[in-house]
Each structure stands twice: as C-alpha cells, then as structure tokens.
C-alpha cells in the first residue's frame, strides 16, 4: 500500500492541484479555506510556481483570467463571501470560455455570517453565481481523499470543456484531517490549447480572448453553442454514489458532510428494519437527474439533508418530477445535523409522515 499522509481537506486540494500541474495560485485569505493559500505560499516558491496574495478577491479572479488566457492551469480559492466577490470574474471566464479551477469552502451566511460549515452556496454554484447564462462544473467531495481526487478531475474537465470547475466543499471538509493517498492520483496531461495567447511568433493570426460581442446575433450564436457543449457535459460528467438503494423505499439525498452524517442515520434505520438508502450527488452540476428519476419509481419519500434552508431539494423535486413525497432535514448558520435528527426524519417518512 502506498504511503499515506495526514492532511486537512484544504491542504489536500492544494497538493492535488500541484500534482495536477497547477503552478499559478492567486487568492485572498478567508476562513475556513485559508490553508489552501497558506500551503501554496509555502510550496509554490519551492517548485518554481507563482503564489500571489492579491489585493482583493476581485483582483485574484482576474489574475486567474489572465493566466488561463495564456493557456496554463490556474486556480483560486475562497469561502462564501469571497466567492460572491469573485462572481463577476466567474461570469467573464464563462463568457470567454476559459478553463479555471475555483474552490469554495463554504461558511454560514448570508452576509459576513460565520466561520462554521455550511452548504448554502448551492444555488450560487449550480446556477452560475455571476450574471448571464452559464454553468460551472461543480464537485462536492465527502472525504479528504475526494478533496484531492476531485481537484485533479476538476482541472481535467475544466480544460476539456473550457469551463470553470468548482469544488464546493463545506467548512468541515476543508478543516477535517484524514489520511490521504496522494500516489494514487492519476493525472492526464493538459490538452493542446491552440486558442491561448502564447505569442504568434508571426506564424499565425492573433488569438483574442474576450467576452464582448458587437453584434447581438453573434452573441446569441455563441450562447447556443455554449449550451450545446453543456449538453455533452451533462451526458458525460455526472458523478454520484448510491448507498443501499436496491430495495430502498425512502431515499436520502445528501452531499459532503451531510452525506457522512446521513450514512450513520441510514445504518441505524436499517438496523430497525427500515428500507432506506442514499443517493449522494458528487457532481452538483451536472446534477444526477437520471438516477433520481429512476428511484422515483421505487421510493415513496425523498429526504434532502442539507446545511441550507433547502436548496438541493429543488433539484431533487425537478429530477423526480414531484412524483414522490419530500422532507427537508436541515441545520443552518454553521450547525451540522446529528445522525439522530436524520434518523428521526427517516422514521417519520417510514410512518408516512411526509404525506
């Protein structure tokens, strides 16, 4: 077995990014994601990379735009309020079809909120966040190992589809420590980027990176083309985990730390003879619609366990065409549901309490 290291989720993201070939990091510190920046500050100078603490989040995301334009793997990371500040830049990255990797280690909101874990940026991440029609590929890790493996994956899909890929983690994932096997991470080399502004050497036309279109017909055309590309992403990149769903009459939907808490509750409910399972979306966009739709034929109740006021539950209802009963099991403001709370809702559903 390969040697393991004991890492915080934030450190695992930083190390995995370096393994994925990222040599350019721009950020601005914010709890609970600060270890990403701190790790990069220590590591990048030693490997010939760039770590730059920008003067603001807005500066950092525009530096990402610049490096991505030059064809290099690049990233930034922040926590909820910082991602709001970066949202203009995220929209510009989408408008210019630039690949980038962005990390959001969420904290309680809205506003300055708190520094404890949250999942209440689900809408912001899955619907775009910034202005205009666009999507990001959004990954939701549920272990420190996945913080590493999904970081590598995110760099690859960003390059492949010329999109921003985001890790949407909660503060728990960023702060918790677990053993990680870094040697198992397999990285595909970055593809050729003939569109990048790498210098013409007088051998080709200039490459122009821009999100401004002078003619509305032209802007409409690139929007339609972009959404054709999104269809390919929806067809190819969906990731989820099924847990004890084979005979499940109740389906828990949960991601990140909520999925880990839910697993304990599901095991306790199974011990009591309740047929309950879980679908854990690993990509939040594209959302694993098909698997939810499939189990809507079998399960009578869906319980969405979230650290938010109920955001993913809307996608669960859409995917299942509102054909089942639904319960929201949640804590907010930096609080995490206990397995007992989830178990209580599972038992309520088993008794037909959601109806």
């Amino acid at each position: 077995m390969a040697d393991k290291v004991l890492m915080k989720g934030n450190e695992a993201i930083a190390e995995a990014a370096i393994i994925a070939g990222c040599r350019h990091y721009f950020g601005y510190p914010i709890t609970p994601q600060t270890e990403v920046a701190a790790y990069m500050a220590k590591k990048m100078p030693k490997i010939g990379g760039t770590f730059l603490q920008a003067e603001s989040e807005i500066a950092a995301i525009n530096m990402v735009y610049g490096v991505s334009s030059a064809g290099k793997r690049v990233m930034t990371s922040s926590s909820s309020p910082g991602i709001s500040l970066k949202s203009e830049g995220l929209s510009y990255l989408a408008g210019a079809d630039l690949p980038a990797f962005v990390v959001n280690v969420q904290r309680g909101g809205p506003g300055l909120g708190g520094i404890q874990p949250s999942q209440s940026d689900y809408f912001q991440a899955t619907r775009g966040g910034g202005h205009g029609d666009y999507h990001m590929i959004v990954y939701a890790p549920a272990s420190v190992q996945e913080m590493a493996s999904l970081t590598v994956k995110a760099f690859e899909t960003a390059d492949k589809y010329r999109m921003t890929s985001m890790i949407l983690a909660d503060g728990t994932m960023g702060q918790m420590m677990e053993p990680v096997d870094l040697e198992s991470l397999k990285v595909n080399p970055a593809p050729e980027k003939p569109w990048a502004t790498t210098g013409t050497e007088m051998k080709r036309e200039h490459n122009i990176i821009n999100s401004l279109y002078l003619k509305p017909e032209q802007l409409e055309k690139v929007n339609f083309e972009r959404y054709e590309r999104y269809k390919t992403v929806e067809a190819n990149e969906v990731m989820f985990e099924e847990y004890l769903m084979d005979d499940a009459e109740i389906c828990v939907a949960a991601f990140g730390i909520a999925a880990r808490v839910s697993k304990n509750a599901i095991n306790a409910a199974r011990a009591k003879g309740i047929k309950v399972g879980m679908i854990r979306p690993i990509t939040l966009w594209p959302f694993p619609k098909d698997v939810f739709k499939k189990y809507a034929q079998q399960a009578h109740t869906f319980i969405s366990v979230e650290l938010s006021m109920g955001q993913m539950i809307e996608d669960v209802k859409l995917a299942t065409e509102c054909k089942a009963e639904y319960l929201l099991c949640n804590r907010v403001g930096g609080m995490i549901p206990l397995p007992e709370q989830v178990l209580e809702d599972i038992e309520k559903a088993a008794k037909g309490g959601a109806r």
Binding site: L6, M7, P32, I115, Q175, I257, R260, K263, G334
Partner: protein
C-alpha cells in the same frame, strides 16, 4: 510513572497540525492526576478551530483551569490572546501547559512571555513532530520549520516529542516506522526525544516496542466521531 519530567511551564510548540492540542491536554491531565495544581493556556493565534476550549467540559470535570481567549470557538475570527495569559509568569506557585499555535506564525504569541520564562528557567520547550504531515515528511523540512518556530518565539527547544500519527487510522506499525525519523531530528538538533506519543488504544501493541511511550486520549470533536 510518567515519562515526562514536568517543569513549572511546559510549552507545546510544533508545525501546523502536528497534534499539539491533544498533547497539551494530556500533559495537563497527567499533572492534575499526579496532584499538581495545573492550568492550561491556549495561546493559539493561528487556528480558530480545534482548540483546547473544545474540551472545556472535560477540563472542568478534572478541575483544570483553562486560560483562553473569549473568542475561541466563536464566529469572531481574530488572532486574540487572553488577558489572563500573564498568569503564566505571575502565578509561580502553579504549573502551566502552554498550547501554542502552529508554525512560526503561532510561535509569535510566545514572544511577550519569553524573556520572563527564560529568566525564571523552570520550563521545557517541546517540539512536537509528525512525519505523516505533508510539509514535514523528511527530517530536513521538519528541522527547518522548528528553527523558524524558535526564531519567532524567542525560546529554543529543549526536547522533542514524536507524535507521528495518521489520526484515528494510525496503526502500531505507523508509529514504529516513525522512530528513525524522530532520532534523526534529535541528532540534527542535538535534543533528546523525551517521548513517543500514541493513541491510548494502541497500548497493547506498542508496550515494550518503543522506549518512553506517552499514551494520549484524543480530544472529542464532531469530526472524530464515526461519520
């Protein structure tokens, strides 16, 4: 019989995530159990999470006084020090364990107390090392971080504790594999290894295998529970 020879002040320093808080708590527990009047001072200005304050109920139960910023464990994320920190050098009839923040940034908090601590000369300055942390996997990198800590804190280390672990997944073999690492650091820094610390659940497998074992109870936190 403890492997520790406690001085009046035990300063627990080390790299980020080396396990300082768990060690500091257990050193306070042991001194209290031996009948000593001991306080624990949380002087972490780096990390707003995983603080000694998380163990406040256990400390109260054992009758150990906690000196800690009012803001630890709250949503106010500022590098605050408790006003009671001066008790460490003022109350000379009492023992103290100081839980210092990680790396050189954390050791800065020691600077204000360092001259008095050195003048009194009844302290040990412990370097906590963990070879399974990503930035201290080899001896040279570890020594580099420890030197930065000494420079920032204004006190030189007097001893090393090998706390190499992989969290709750640590096996006896993981601990044994770290012995050479600690010995090399000891040779490089010309400092004794006063203990190898390990989760108390490994007692059966480690007893007699390594010298000077110090078994620790891990601090309870939500993340440590099986989920």
């Amino acid at each position: 019989m403890s492997v520790m020879d406690y001085k009046r002040i035990t300063i627990v320093c080390g790299h980020y995530g080396s396990g300082k808080t768990n060690l500091a708590l257990n050193m306070a527990y042991e001194q209290k159990a031996a009948g000593l009047n001991v306080s624990i001072a949380d002087l972490d200005i780096v990390n707003p999470y995983f603080r000694t304050k998380d163990s406040i109920d256990e400390l109260n139960r054992r009758g150990i006084n906690l000196i800690c910023s009012d803001y630890a464990g709250t949503n106010l994320d500022i590098p605050a020090l408790p006003d009671e920190m001066y008790a460490v050098t003022d109350r000379k009839d009492e023992n103290f364990v100081l839980d210092i923040g990680g790396d050189d940034r954390g050791a800065l908090a020691l600077g204000r107390l360092a001259p008095q601590i050195i003048a009194e000369n009844d302290y040990s300055m412990i370097a906590v090392v963990n070879m399974y942390r990503p930035l201290t996997r080899d001896c040279l990198s570890t020594v580099e971080v420890l030197r930065e800590i000494e420079y920032a804190g204004g006190i030189n280390f007097t001893a090393i504790i090998n706390n190499s672990n992989l969290g709750t997944d640590t096996t006896a073999s993981d601990v044994k594999k770290s012995v050479d690492y600690a010995r090399e650091i000891s040779a490089m820094m010309k400092l004794p290894i006063i203990a190898t610390s390990a989760d108390a659940r490994l007692k059966g497998e480690l007893d007699g295998e390594i010298d000077d074992l110090f078994y620790i109870e891990l601090q309870n936190s939500l993340v440590n529970k099986e989920c």
